[in-house]
């Protein structure tokens, strides 16, 4: 259960939003919408604890997420605008180190399975510098396939730079995650893609 309690966010002296409230039960998708600069990314960064809200707090199972510290962040998968892909490492190494940071010790077969799911079979050992933008993005998204067990996914524009094929894979992964009782928070400009992803969807429009 993820709750926001009268959240406010201020960037560069400007109030982006205030008194934001929501509660997400397991299996719920929160779609954050709004024009550029409305504070979508800022909200996601606050939710995952990278930024501090100007007011209010984030609650996980009724407890202050900030106070929980690693107890909260170990349940969390955050995918930001920056994909955290190291150009000098192969997709397999990138995925392995990313999962290890998230507290998981994946088997080689699980890594390759996750990469194959995102269409990177045969490219597992190519240094990421030789991959295209879309393929790098796929390598970052392979974390979704490998980290199904994490209950909270926070995804910032997960569909950016992806082709139709990968979009279908990502939406399927998100649906599977929600069907398994997970919570997902995401921003996207491709609303249709997630239209049927979840049984219960909350839509939050910022900047209105």
């Amino acid at each position: 259960m993820l709750q926001a309690e009268s959240l406010a966010c201020e960037r560069g002296g400007r109030l982006l939003f205030k008194s934001l409230e929501f509660a997400l039960a397991p299996g719920t998708l929160l779609r954050v919408a709004g024009p550029n600069g409305a504070g979508k990314t800022s909200l996601l960064r606050i939710l995952c604890g990278l930024a501090r809200p100007a007011a209010g707090r984030v609650l996980w199972s009724g407890e202050n997420a900030h106070a929980l510290g690693e107890e909260y962040t170990r349940r969390l998968l955050y995918l930001g605008h920056l994909s955290a892909i190291k150009e000098d490492l192969s997709p397999r190494e990138n995925l392995r180190f990313a999962l290890r940071l998230a507290g998981q010790a994946p088997q080689a077969a699980a890594l390759d399975g996750a990469l194959a799911r995102l269409g990177l079979a045969g490219r597992e050992d190519v240094p990421a510098r030789y991959l295209s933008q879309g393929q790098k993005r796929r390598a970052a998204l392979a974390r979704l396939a490998a980290a199904q067990a994490l209950p909270l996914w926070i995804l910032d524009e997960p569909l950016a730079a992806l082709d139709a094929d990968a979009i279908a894979t990502v939406t399927a992964l998100v649906s599977g995650h929600l069907a398994g009782g997970g919570i997902a928070v995401l921003t996207t400009h491709q609303e249709i893609a997630f239209a049927s992803a979840a049984a219960s969807t909350v839509r939050l429009v910022l900047g209105s």
């Binding site: 990278l50 930001g80 490492l89 940071l101 507290g103």
Partner: protein
């Protein structure tokens, strides 16, 4: 905790191995600076021996400073640092791992290379021993303090100059006692006190610097 530190060290060493040029750059800088002094001051053996400890330590210190820029900057730029901040392990473990990996790729090679350059200055055996011992104790302090400065200057314009201004004053005690230890050994005096003080600096900075680095990183990414 130790597994997560080891994981970060493995990752950073692997990255360093893929970019051997970055590691070599620091060592080449050290060798070049230390080799330029005899060319500038003349090759009078007694004079070289007298200034050897200071020159070697200053060169090692500047080489370490040169490498600080890449300690967090690359991870900051590609988003890895965000992931480290919201990882499953305490941030201080990640910071400790990165600092250790930084020392393994800069301080340790400098320590191993220094006696060779010391020979160029005609330093006798005991002084070379003191040089290695003082660098072995002092260069980890350079990495630990450097990590704080590197985290504080993340994302700022002119980070390199700012970093030098922030960190060099804090390096002064290490330089004084590091070069002092070698100087004392050269003069045939006991230098255990110098090394003890360097050890104290190391213990102090090993306890406090990682926490300061964590705080600075959180501010940089807010």
């Amino acid at each position: 905790m130790f597994a997560s530190i080891a994981g970060i060290i493995e990752r950073d060493l692997r990255l360093a191995f893929r970019r051997k040029g970055d590691v070599a750059q620091v060592l080449v800088f050290f060798v070049i600076v230390a080799s330029l002094f005899p060319l500038g001051t003349g090759a009078e053996p007694n004079q070289l021996r007298a200034m050897g400890p200071g020159v070697l330590w200053v060169a090692a210190l500047l080489a370490a400073l040169l490498s600080l820029g890449r300690l967090f900057a690359a991870d900051y730029a590609d988003g890895s640092l965000e992931q480290m901040l919201i990882g499953a392990h305490p941030l201080v473990a990640t910071v400790a791992g990165k600092t250790i990996a930084h020392w393994l790729t800069t301080g340790l090679p400098l320590t191993l290379l220094a006696p060779l350059i010391g020979l160029q200055y005609g330093l006798p055996g005991p002084a070379l021993g003191a040089l290695v011992a003082s660098l072995a104790l002092g260069t980890p302090v350079l990495s630990l303090i450097g990590a704080v400065g590197s985290a504080l200057t993340l994302g700022t314009r002119g980070a390199a100059v700012l970093l030098a201004l922030l960190v060099l004053p804090l390096y002064v005690p290490v330089l004084v006692f590091g070069a002092g230890a070698v100087g004392a050994a050269l003069a045939g005096l006991p230098h255990a006190a110098h090394l003890s003080l360097l050890g104290a600096f190391l213990a102090f900075s090993a306890v406090f610097a990682p926490w300061a680095t964590c705080a600075a990183l959180r501010i940089a990414l807010d």
